[in-house]
Symmetry: C2
Subunit: 209 residues, 2 copies
């Protein structure tokens, strides 16, 4: 399927059927998300895959989206609540290992990362990490559609309670956005039949020739 068709096919699914997403499809969606671009390439977030129905039920008390319990899988994008010296050190070591380079050769990159990231306030860090997670959300939406898996990006949830229920604080993480995955209930999801609406190109694009 061509990318534009893939994007035309997807929509924010409201009502899911009980059909489950197969493991290999989920794996490819996660692989695609993992390959997303990010500032410094650092991907300052993790993906939680919530399968447990009890946990999903508890989470659903803190969101008005029925997809939390009804979709096949629920992904939680959770950002690093701060960038620590150790995070940068681990990342530099990973690069050195993967690229078979001496750690010292990454000194300039390390300095830049330390200067750019350690100096951020908690609020600035949350904004920056969340932006990186949203690039990955964009990837996840396309990756799901490429697998003909329906998806719903969701911002409407109480992040504080999600973090508490998922033990994210202890992990140094904060939930920032959700992605439900599954299969549309074509009969009962009225959204499935709605025409996609986008700003017309003449309103959306400004060309400076």
């Amino acid at each position: 399927m061509e990318l534009i068709e893939t994007l035309q096919w997807r929509y924010a699914t409201k009502k899911y059927s009980s059909k489950k997403v197969a493991d290999d499809k989920l794996e490819r969606i996660i692989t695609a998300i993992n390959l997303s671009a990010s500032s410094f390439g650092m991907q300052p977030y993790k993906i939680l895959i919530i399968e447990n129905p009890e946990v999903r039920k508890k989470l659903s008390a803190y969101s008005s989206n029925p997809q939390i319990t009804e979709a096949s899988h629920l992904l939680v994008f959770a950002v690093f609540d701060s960038i620590k010296q150790d995070t940068i050190k681990r990342y530099i070591e990973l690069i050195a290992k993967e690229r078979e380079l001496p750690t010292e050769s990454l000194k300039v990159f390390k300095e830049r990362a330390l200067n750019g990231l350690l100096l951020k306030s908690e609020d600035e860090n949350l904004i920056w990490t969340t932006k990186q997670a949203y690039i990955a959300l964009g990837t996840g939406l396309i990756a799901a559609a490429a697998e003909k898996v329906d998806a719903t990006p969701m911002e409407g949830f109480d992040a504080g309670h999600f973090d508490e229920l998922l033990g994210l604080k202890e992990k140094g993480l904060k939930s920032v956005v959700l992605l439900a995955l599954g299969y549309r209930d074509e009969v009962n999801d009225s959204n499935a039949r709605l025409k996609k609406v986008r700003w017309p190109k003449e309103d959306f694009v400004i060309t400076i020739k």
Copy 2:
């Protein structure tokens, strides 16, 4: 090309050749970006395509990225600096027209949008609109790679000066992120040969079964 291969192929291009991106390819990249998901489906941003070399040269004074002038095209993602009653009205009218519905049938949706969006402070609005633009950035990166067009997402620029040079304030817009498009200079871009580094899955994914 499969999505995962497409994502493996792309990298943040440092050094571009002088080869230009063809109009039809650029058009498909823009179409894909326009089809990106967003909260309320509202896409509170526009895309500027900067072709003019004089403008690009002026902009380059406010970024240390040589791609600003060297890439084939420069895209500027610029968000709505506030959501006004009129923005929501225009959007509702667009939905009504596209879906051939009476405007009144969108009353509940309109109320939700008004309550959710008009109440945001200027800072909250910037954070929210920027997140939506980053979903589109994620789409743009994939769309470029799907066309075998190289790309560089860039956060390092002085947004205030960009806004001034591009007359964005008068348009009610604020630049938030850039995307250079073009073709890698394979010989002179050492990044082109670097192995892609990502957190291993066991560090990146937490499954709650």
